[in-house]
């Protein structure tokens, strides 16, 4: 089984939460091991910030805010392992066992405590034609922009809901590739909600001002924005050629070769679920969140910080990382009172920062019946090509829960391991059976939670 590597604390992910936690731990004399999928620290939000390829005029100021964190992280004594993936985990009485795969192969780790800082992923939101080449998620497009300075060859159509849609549109505008159109599924009336959530609006004025400025800039640049788009479809023979949208009571059409969609982000659930953390449906965020206590602890030896525990943004993630680190420091020291103060301060700032969330959640709330109103031919599982109609048939034949449905149809059995269709399936069953998503549940998540070849796994066998 190769040699067993050991560490006091492992952190999975080097986004703002993971970085902040690691830095705080080193200040207390602990050298954590940080497993990170990326080539460099930063996570999605500060991707490529170590060697930026886009300037501040293109990225916006929030991106460059991460520089201090990145600097502290690189100076601290951290066992940082870029391009490493945790593909298996198991909670044990004396810690957590992890299977890690990197360029050198597969290794096995035993750590006493673990912090999951695996961040969020884009919510997948099926509509007819979303499987066609030329249909992509806006977050993925932004990764290409941040990492390689890449903008689309032809002007894209942006569709969906949420701040990232407008940020990307604004960034494209500044990079000289203004989108053809923004199809916003959020009704215009929702943008008046800040008037009703005054406290949240005040605490979140930074976001609101930023959003309003971007919208204004887009309007000035002549990008048409349609609020309240109710349905979406992409068509084309071998790839996207046209986008159709239902707006103000009629279907409209737009020729385009690229449609970038965004319907918010949800916590990346795979590793947390694989090690048995319970997840609960959160009505505001419209997704499952891991159960955590006030110290952000989810199991005896496991903590969850950052967007992986619930969407709160980069600043909140940083604070959560530090809070989790404080809670993970079990050895009593003489600075107990200082730590208590530090914790209180972090908790206060966090509460202030999160005050805007109910407003944002209400503004960008997605229609929960969207999926069940799509035509039967819409694919729900793109990996295994399972359509909505096929799922409906299997439900009629007796598939009463997500796991039986997966067994009956292969929905969720492909390479993405259900990340893409998991919550869609929960939502569909919830609508059909008229039960809350919490009662419907979710797939049993199986290892490997990251890609691994049979040869790599075989190399760890004892008798090999």
């Amino acid at each position: 089984m190769g040699e067993l590597c050991q560490a006091e604390i492992a952190i999975i992910g080097a986004g703002p939460a993971g970085m902040a936690a690691a830095i705080r731990l080193t200040q207390a004399g602990i050298r954590p091991v940080v497993f990170d999928m990326g080539n460099a620290p930063g996570g999605q939000i500060y991707r490529q910030l170590d060697v930026p390829v886009i300037g501040e005029t293109l990225s916006g100021t929030d991106y460059y805010r991460g520089r201090d964190l990145l600097g502290d992280f690189s100076r601290a004594d951290i066992d940082y392992r870029p391009r490493s993936q945790v593909w298996w985990g198991q909670c044990e009485s004396d810690g957590v066992s992890l299977g890690v795969v990197d360029a050198a192969g597969v290794s096995r780790w035993h750590v006493k405590r673990m912090l999951l800082a695996t961040g969020s992923m884009e919510r997948s939101w099926p509509f007819p034609g979303w499987q066609l080449p030329g249909s992509m998620q806006a977050g993925a497009a932004q990764i290409l922009f941040k990492e390689g300075g890449l903008v689309p060859e032809a002007s894209p159509v942006l569709a969906g809901s949420g701040p990232l849609l407008y940020l990307l549109a604004w960034q494209y505008c500044r990079a000289g590739c203004a989108p053809q159109r923004i199809l916003d599924t959020t009704p215009a009336s929702r943008y008046r909600l800040p008037l009703r959530y005054l406290r949240g609006a005040w605490q979140g004025r930074h976001y609101l001002v930023k959003g309003a400025r971007m919208m204004l800039a887009l309007k000035r640049a002549g990008v048409p924005i349609h609020h309240g788009v109710e349905a979406l479809e992409a068509t084309g023979k071998h790839r996207v050629e046209r986008v159709h949208y239902y707006w103000r009571g009629h279907w409209h059409h737009q020729d385009t070769s690229l449609v970038l969609t965004h319907f918010g982000v949800v916590p990346e659930p795979q590793l947390g679920r694989a090690i048995g953390i319970p997840y609960d449906w959160h009505e505001g965020q419209q997704c499952f969140l891991p159960e955590r206590n006030r110290s952000l602890q989810a199991r005896t030896r496991v903590w969850v910080a950052g967007d992986g525990g619930g969407i709160g943004g980069a600043l909140n993630a940083e604070r959560e990382g530090r809070l989790a680190a404080l809670s993970m420091l079990t050895i009593p020291t003489n600075d107990v009172a200082d730590r208590k103060r530090e914790r209180r301060r972090l908790e206060q700032r966090r509460a202030t920062d999160l005050a805007v969330r109910p407003l944002l959640e209400a503004m960008f709330r997605l229609p929960s019946h969207w999926l069940s109103e799509q035509p039967d031919t819409t694919l729900v599982c793109r990996c295994e090509c399972v359509s909505l109609g096929e799922l409906r048939r299997a439900i009629e034949q007796g598939a009463a829960g997500p796991n039986q449905l997966k067994a009956f149809t292969r929905c969720g059995m492909g390479p993405c391991q259900g990340r893409e269709c998991g919550e869609s399936v929960t939502r569909l069953l919830s609508t059909v059976q008229a039960l809350p998503p919490q009662e419907i549940g979710y797939y049993q998540v199986r290892p490997p939670v990251q890609a691994l070849s049979l040869g790599e796994l075989a190399a760890t066998a004892t008798d090999a």
Binding site: W88, G398, Q444, L452, L454, L457, A458, A461
Partner: protein
Amino acid sequence: MQSDFLIIGGGVVGMAVAYGLARDGQRVSVLDESDDAFRASRGNAGLTWVQGKGLGMPHYAELSLDASLTWPAFAAELEARTAIDIEHECRGGVDLCFDASEAKVRQRDYAKLQLSSRHLAQHFRWEYLDRQALQTYLPGLGESIHGGTWSPHDGHCNPLHLLRALHAACRSLGLEYHASTPVLSLSPCLNGFRAATPDSEFHAERVIVAAGLGARNLAPMLGLSGTVRPVRGQMLVTERMPRVEQLPTPQLRQTATGGYLIGDTHEEVGFDKGVSLEMMSCLADRAVRIYPFLRQARLIRAWGALRIMTPDGAPLYEASSRYPGAYNLNCHSGISLAAFHANELARAIIDDRLEERWSAFSGARFNVPAHC
């Protein structure tokens, strides 16, 4: 509500018998557990297998052989009824041997089994093939494999499609299926039997416990034996690979969609259905020794499932002598025996002649209180 039969368990055993009963015009209700129940039906390799079954119990070997002969007609019938492709193929199978001593023991066991029954001597066909001879059946076979026993009776299917087809067929025959309805207790009543669930009660003239590991609690309530134990099987499945004409083996097989299903382990670990790194590595190592080209294949999923094991490994078909009309069905090979369960076994239950026709599989052999 009153039906003819109440079946406890919506797995592949319960649903196969339910199908046989419903097809005969019986009014059947099935009570099933929740979505995350143990469910051996969702954790098996999908083999319809004869080789190696019933070593030391020729009746079981005969049953397996006869069941395999009726599988093709059964698959065709279900497919015609539901339009669900069960992907059943019966073109033979190979059980691999990794070294000479394993090969020797295997051949001796099979020869001995054939000597013990005239039926098997006449009908059970098998042959030992060395690595060279196996190449035609298993192209790509690795250097380190010694050989294997080939038999024309073995085959495979998609066990998940089988389960779905049984559900669909039962549904079209008017069967009542109740998901997430765990049975808390079973008891006799004036017109038959009563099953208590958290929210209500179900009544039927006769009751069949097909609850897998759930029988440990439920069967004794009706004077039936619950002497089954969990055996964990871990399995791996790879990404889709180009289709190769290969016969299935119990060690691994390529499914109709192209993925390689690699299994399985037999571990006595109680009710833990997790996966362990040691066992996954071990399975992967064995798989790449069998087919070295699988080294590059991406692993898509690994999972553990709890299989049902009776004390002697053979099926348990029993009728309660204390409460006539109550039955307990439990076996390790619900896929291989599915055709038999839907046909002969369902018939024997309708006729209430289970113990008479299939006495070899009665609980009496374990000396349980069912026959006090």
